[in-house]
Amino acid sequence: MTVRFLHTSDWQLGMTRHYLAPRPGGEDDAQARFTADRIEAVRRIGEIARDQDCSFVVVAGDVFETQNVSRRVVALACEAMASIGLPVFLLPGNHDSLEPGCIWDQDLFTDRCPSNVTVLRDTEPIDVADGAQVVGAPLTSRHPSSDPIAPVIADLAPDGTTRILVGHGQLPGLSGQDSEETEVDATAIKEAVNSGAIRYAALGDRHIRWPEDPHAAIRYCGTHETTRFTDAGRGSVDVVEVSGGRVTATPHEVGRWLHARVSREMATDEDIDAMAAELSGFSDPTRTIVRYDLHGHLSVAQNARLEALLADRQEVFASLEPSADRHDLVVTPDGGDLDGMDLPGWAASAATELSEAAASSPTAIDALGLLRRLAMASPPGRAENPAGEEAHSGEAHR
């Protein structure tokens, strides 16, 4: 028999990112947009599921970011899940485990849980169609002491039923995983698949889709909206068809947010232009989170230009920040930096001193940049200059 369903996971609704916090005095609230979009994506999942003739939707854990999510997030999430219009099976993951006082027991969820939604609170198989069952392996605590999946599949017999296992945890050996996360026994799952006790293992916890092979019976579908810079591209879901022993999974992009790294070598003004072009290349900067890491050398003047560019782009991107551990651009004063500055002798000698110190003192570079700005902005007879203020504000948000 053939079963078609949608496999998604790690919605982590209610997630916040500190780098999305509003800037002091800023108008934009990227966090609010981020939160709303993650819920909105659930509606799109429903559209895809319906379009693709799915019978049901399984969410393989971490539906909510924490057990402490707000009433508003739960309410909006419930409405979005209701809009799917198909049976939805929610698996409690490590973020929303069945621990005491968990979200699943709180009134704010139980009062609103739509009728099409089933929380997989136990490992009892649920019939989803003739000869097809969904079997959940919910997490009962944040850090289970043992593999939550192995005992579930041990009880299952290959009796011809098409069983979809819904589990949450890390298969060993995959890159980019957290050592603290729950490991699941890959061998046991493989054996269950091989024996036919289960036909497909819909896994969650890993935010990156894996593997590429569309016929793999053990799969992480990845998160529906990316959450980290390791998550390439936009979030997606898998429409899975299980037909006898054959599995076919097709990814569908649903996410709108992008976590992007911009990594460039800088040396010339052209490089700055190229950087500007790359930043302009993002189709939806308000939903794009950029971590840039620039390398190489720029002069003080070039750096001033770069900073002005970044300051300008920061206004449009959801977040545009240097990578804390990768960005290592070096600013080096060159002859050109002092050109055009009509400095009296003593000021010129001060500039020279700063230039010499620049190699070992970032502050000296900043001081040089400032001198440059003041000298350019303050021709004789003019104490203040609006251009100076602009440069200043650009600097402030670097």
Partner: protein, 909 residues
């Protein structure tokens, strides 16, 4: 500017004067005070100052016009400015006019007049360093303030050149310097305070970050608190599950143990029941057995009673016989005693009679003796009565005698005194027949001594002689008194003797001696009486009768006794004796004989009495036995009666009992009960055995222990439930989403603030570094810039002040401090002379520094007035050497000061 000539007319006190100056060097313009040295300088100012037009009627102009005249004020000067030699003149007040003539340069030959001349001159003058122009003049009236040469372009450009930092366009960038530094300072001030501490913006941002970080920590703690409660709740839930399992298991165990206990208790109940049954059976058996025993006893009792009756009967008969025997014996004893008693009474009577006889005889004896005594005592008594009678009549006493003797002694003494005191009268008869002579009426007889009368005249004595003569002799008055004393003594003697009935003292003595004798006699008589009476006492001890009266009474009694025996006659001894012998028998018996007879009677009586006593005792003994026999008889009789009664009663009772249950019945019942008891005992043994097999203690302990375990586990479960409920409630009340929101919010804020503070700090540090670097370089440059000026001042000044002179010059090119002898002094602390000297040095140094084309003449108006000669001399040397390249004009009224100086001297008088 180089001055060549000044010409002045009608300027104050100056009528017309021209001062010509060489191009360089020192000019000493000599003149007395008030000759107008200062006026020359003022006039020059008025000429060069564009404010003073020729047409000007300003107060200064008017003031310059010689008082009370209408003369024009004329000033003309020839000088070179910017390489061009000019002649400029102004005529004020009267026909005012101005003129400017170019003597050299591109416009050489041009002559301008009036407005044009003034305006053109103003333009040219503008190019001159006004500051320097003013500074290099030292007028007498000028203050001694430190000079500020900052605005002297000539000096500053000279310093610029000297410091060689700017090769081209010196002076143009000064303004820019300030702008850049100001901008840097302004940038610095955005972030830092004047003292270099973080400014408000930086501080606010840092504080905001710190506050937010603190709030984030709080929010994180709040959130962790939720997790802690969740963890605890999880533990509580696990505990609950485990404890519920425990409780279930323990409840089952406890129930099983309780069932076993119940079975045990059933068995125990059975044992109790069997024990009671056995006890009842035993009781019934005991009852039957005791009934049978009682019957057997009753039968025995009846037999015994009957046996006793027969035995008692025999004893009673025997006792009765014994009583009869004793009765007879008693009668015999009683008779014997009667006889003895009679004999005793007879003997007694006989003995009494014998005694009476003895007694009578004795009384007779005594009466006779008594009479003899009484006879003797009567004689004594008569004698005693006589002695006592005498004593009664004799009133003498030792005391009275003693008083009388004393009175007598006094009388004798009084007489002696009288006799001694009285005159003696001796009448002697001279002739036997002499006429009669009477003394005191008593005729004198021949009285011894040959008829002389010798007398003491103690009272008036009357001597009558033959009735013819009366001679009265009167003693002296004191003799009279003595005579009185004698009389009184005589009276006293008489009075003393009177109570004793004695007339004289001798008589009294006699009386007292007689009294003593009588008293002795009476005493002797009384003793004799006593003795006699004591004799009587010997035979009859009756002390009361120890008197004559008593004796008499006694005699009467004895006599009566005798009389009783022998009749009333108590007069003679014989009768008494006769009477006393009455019962004795033979009269004439002696007392001794009578006493012997009485003794014999007594012995007989004693014998009879003994016999009587024996008989009586015998009788009493038999009497006692008789009483006993009688009692025994009576007792035996009553015992018999009682035994008979008892036997009858027991027999009746036995019969009655047998009527109810026969002996056989009782035996059968014992048999039955014994069997029943045996069975009950068997049953008890059986169930007790069963109970013992169940180990009741263990079962009971097991049940108790499992119940306790169950209860404890239940308690624990209850407590865990409470804990769980508490935690659950706590968790529900924690506002989890609120805490999460706050944490998320704070995390974002902290992120933003960190970025902001980092950027701000970066900018602040940059501003600080830039400003510090700029200031440092500017200061360095300034130091280098000021250095030639300072050096020039010190070089010049050392000639005046000494080799150790040093000065400090500030940015405004003002000397602020001077060092001398290692001691720094501020300008204001300097003495007036020092100020003047240093001021000159500064001026000359400036003049030396500026380029010749920029320079102006140094004009000193009576300078060095405050300076001493030594310093003056040095100064002048310096001035002189300095004037090699400059014009130096000194107006002075004391030219001798400059004698030693190589100078052009101009007489200004």
């Amino acid at each position: 500017m180089r001055l060549h000539r000044i010409h002045v007319e009608n300027f104050k006190s100056v009528e017309d004067r021209t001062l010509e100056l060489p191009d360089t060097g020192l000019v000493i313009a000599e003149g007395l005070n008030e000759v107008g040295k200062t006026s020359m300088v003022e006039a020059l100012d008025m000429l060069l100052d564009p404010k003073f037009k020729a047409t000007s009627k300003r107060a200064e102009v008017k003031a310059a016009q010689p008082y009370g005249t209408d003369l024009p004020v004329i000033v003309e000067a020839e000088f070179t400015v910017g390489g061009v030699r000019l002649v400029h003149s102004k005529r004020f007040l009267a026909q005012p006019a101005a003129r400017l003539e170019f003597l050299s340069g591109p416009r050489a030959g041009d002559v301008l007049t009036d407005e044009r001349a003034t305006d053109t001159m103003a333009e040219i003058w503008q190019g001159t360093d006004q500051t320097l122009w003013r500074a290099l003049r030292h007028m007498q009236s000028d203050s001694l303030e430190a000079l500020s040469l900052k605005s002297s372009t000539a000096l500053t450009s000279a310093l610029d050149r000297a410091s060689r930092i700017e090769d081209a366009g010196p002076g143009d960038h000064r303004a820019d310097d300030t702008t850049l530094l100001e901008a840097a300072e302004k940038e610095f001030a955005k972030y830092w305070t004047g003292t270099g501490k973080p400014g408000k913006q930086l501080k606010d941002a840092t504080t905001a970050l710190e506050r937010s970080e603190a709030e984030l920590a709080v929010a994180r703690r709040d959130l962790d608190e939720v997790d802690t409660v969740v963890t605890e709740l999880q533990t509580a839930e696990e505990d609950l599950r485990a404890q519920r399992r425990d409780v279930g298991r323990l409840e089952k165990e406890s129930a099983a143990d309780a069932t076993a206990l119940k079975a045990l208790e059933g068995l125990e109940q059975q044992v109790t029941e069997a024990r009671r049954t056995e006890r009842d059976a035993q009781q019934r058996l005991d009852t039957a057995a005791s009934a049978r025993q009682a019957r057997r006893q009753a039968v025995e009792e009846v037999d015994t009673a009957r046996q006793q009756v027969s035995e008692t009967k025999a004893a009673a008969e025997k006792a009765h016989d014994a009583a009869g025997d004793v009765e007879e014996e008693y009668r015999e004893a009683d008779e014997r005693w009667d006889a003895c008693e009679k004999a005793r009474l007879d003997a007694r009577r006989a003995w009494q009679e014998a005694r009476a006889t003895v007694s009578g005889l004795r009384d007779h004896d005594r009466l006779a003796r008594l009479d003899a005594i009484i006879g003797r005592l009567s004689g004594v008594r008569i004698e005693l009565r006589e002695a006592e009678g005498r004593l009664e009549g004799n009133l003498a006493s030792a005391k009275g005698l003693k008083a009388a003797e004393k009175a007598s002694a006094r009388l004798a003494a009084a007489r002696t005194k009288l006799e001694v005191a009285s005159p003696r009268m001796r009448i002697e008869r001279l002739d036997d027949d002499a006429p009669a002579l009477a003394v005191d009426g008593r005729p004198i007889e021949d009285e011894g001594d040959g008829g002389a009368v010798d007398r003491v005249v103690d009272r008036p004595a009357v001597v009558e002689v033959a009735d013819a003569w009366r001679i009265t002799v009167t003693p002296a008055s004191d003799v009279d008194k003595l005579a009185h004393d004698v009389e009184r003594a005589e009276r006293e003697l008489t009075q003393a003797l009177e109570p004793m009935g004695a007339a004289t003292l001798e008589a009294a003595r006699e009386l007292l001696a007689a009294r003593g004798r009588d008293e002795s006699l009476a005493t002797g008589l009384r003793e004799r009486l006593e003795r006699e009476l004591a004799d009587v006492d010997e035979w009859e001890d009756d002390s009361q009768e120890r008197s004559v009266a008593g004796l008499t009474e006694l005699r009467a009694r004895v006599a009566a006794r005798v009389g009783d025996a022998a009749g009333d006659d108590a007069d003679a001894d014989d009768t008494g004796a006769e009477a006393g012998s009455g019962d004795v028998g033979d009269a004439g018996l002696t007392v001794g004989q009578a006493e012997e007879a009485a003794a014999r009677c007594e012995a007989a009586h004693d014998e009879a009495e003994l016999a009587e006593k024996a008989a009586r005792a015998a009788r009493e003994a038999v009497g006692e036995r008789r009483s006993a026999a009688r009692e025994a008889d009576s007792a035996a009789a009553s015992t018999l009666t009682a035994a008979r009664g008892q036997a009858e009663r027991l027999a009746a009772r036995l019969e009655e009992a047998r009527g109810i249950a026969t002996d056989e019945d009782l035996d059968a019942r014992v048999e039955t009960e014994d069997t029943a008891h045996w069975e009950a005992e068997g049953e008890l043994e059986k169930v007790s055995g069963e109970l013992a097999e169940h180990s009741p203690d263990e079962v009971r302990e097991a049940a108790r222990a499992s119940q306790a375990r169950f209860e404890k586990a239940s308690d624990r479960l209850g407590r865990t439930g409470t804990r769980w409920a508490g935690l659950d409630g706590q968790l529900r009340g924690m506002d989890r989403s609120g805490r999460q929101d706050r944490f998320d919010d704070m995390e974002g804020r902290v992120h933003r603030l960190r970025i902001e503070v980092t950027a701000l700090t970066k900018r602040a540090d940059a501003a600080r570094l830039l400003r510090d670097t700029l200031v440092r370089h500017r200061d360095e440059e300034r130091r280098r810039y000021l250095e030639p000026f300072t050096r020039q001042i010190e070089t010049l000044g050392r000639g005046v002040f000494g080799a150790d002179l040093a000065v400090r010059v500030d940015d405004s090119l003002t000397v602020t401090q001077r060092q001398l002898g290692g001691k720094w002094l501020a300008w204001d602390q300097l003495s007036t002379g020092a100020k003047e000297q240093l001021g000159l040095v500064v001026r000359l140094a400036t003049a030396r520094l500026v380029s010749p084309e920029d320079g102006v003449p140094v004009i000193l108006d009576d300078a060095l007035v405050y300076s001493d000669r030594v310093r003056c001399g040095r100064m002048l040397k310096e001035v002189s050497s300095g004037s090699q390249a400059n014009q130096v004009v000194v107006f002075t009224s004391a030219p001798e000061r400059y004698d030693a100086v190589d100078a052009v001297h101009v007489d200004f008088r």
